[in-house]
Subunit: 142 residues, 2 copies
């Protein structure tokens, strides 16, 4: 297999609410918005928003959900001060701040927010993982 | 915010088992492997494997987990026949096939597998989302 994730799909309870959230909180507009799904072009990755129950059915799963999901998404920023800015805008747009921005024990700075469906986003400044011109992390070789 | 996800982090119960799985099933080697975390360079995205309990703690969450996680990852292939090939190799490496490869109602072909921690991967052929030379989806404009 080639090194890629093609699509990250988030199950959502109310698609229109989530579209609005990602527009207001993150400034993202879908590249394709259909009745039951929205696709966002995030560089070489696609983010999809899709109804939770349909996503569960597609994966042959029961839709019941509780507890920690065991997966998080991170948005890394270029400057330490951006963390608080991003989190403030997201909170104003309806995000839940689950961990306020603070210095981390690994030498960075960040916090966590939850989207309207509880999907966890870490907003992080990592001085050891600088972003290139395209905003991508290039993992330093040891 | 710029259009990106920087890192997708999967919580895992046994880091070495997961490293082995992603090597044998997907052919992926970490760009950086540390005692408690592995980072994979997937094009402009980074995939991280990190102990489930530490990930929960980092996100201020209780580690208990049950039911559908409400999020899936997709690996899209270039040719329809690749879906079955990828799923067979992953199954041999320990993946659970939760939905065998089949034609889909949206005109594609795909199936779902679960990694050793239950993280869901859709392996899909989508003729409406062709991959560019770098293997990335470029969402067609309507």
């Amino acid at each position: 297999m080639e090194p890629r994730i093609s699509i990250v799909t988030l199950g959502v309870q109310v698609l229109e609410r989530s579209r609005q959230f990602y527009k207001e909180a993150f400034g993202w507009e879908p590249a394709s918005a259909q009745e039951t799904i929205s696709f966002y072009q995030l560089g070489g990755l696609v983010l999809a928003l899709y109804p939770h129950n349909l996503l569960a059915a597609d994966a042959n799963a029961e839709p019941e959900q509780s507890g920690f999901r065991g997966i998080t998404l991170a948005y890394n920023v270029r400057e330490k001060t951006e963390v608080a800015q991003v989190m403030a805008i997201a909170e104003a747009a309806g995000a839940t701040i689950v961990k306020p921005a603070a210095d981390t024990d690994w030498g960075g700075h960040g916090g966590y927010l939850a989207d309207p469906d509880g999907h966890l986003w870490e907003i992080a400044y990592n001085p050891f993982f600088p972003l290139n011109a395209k905003g991508e992390i290039e993992i330093p070789t040891a």
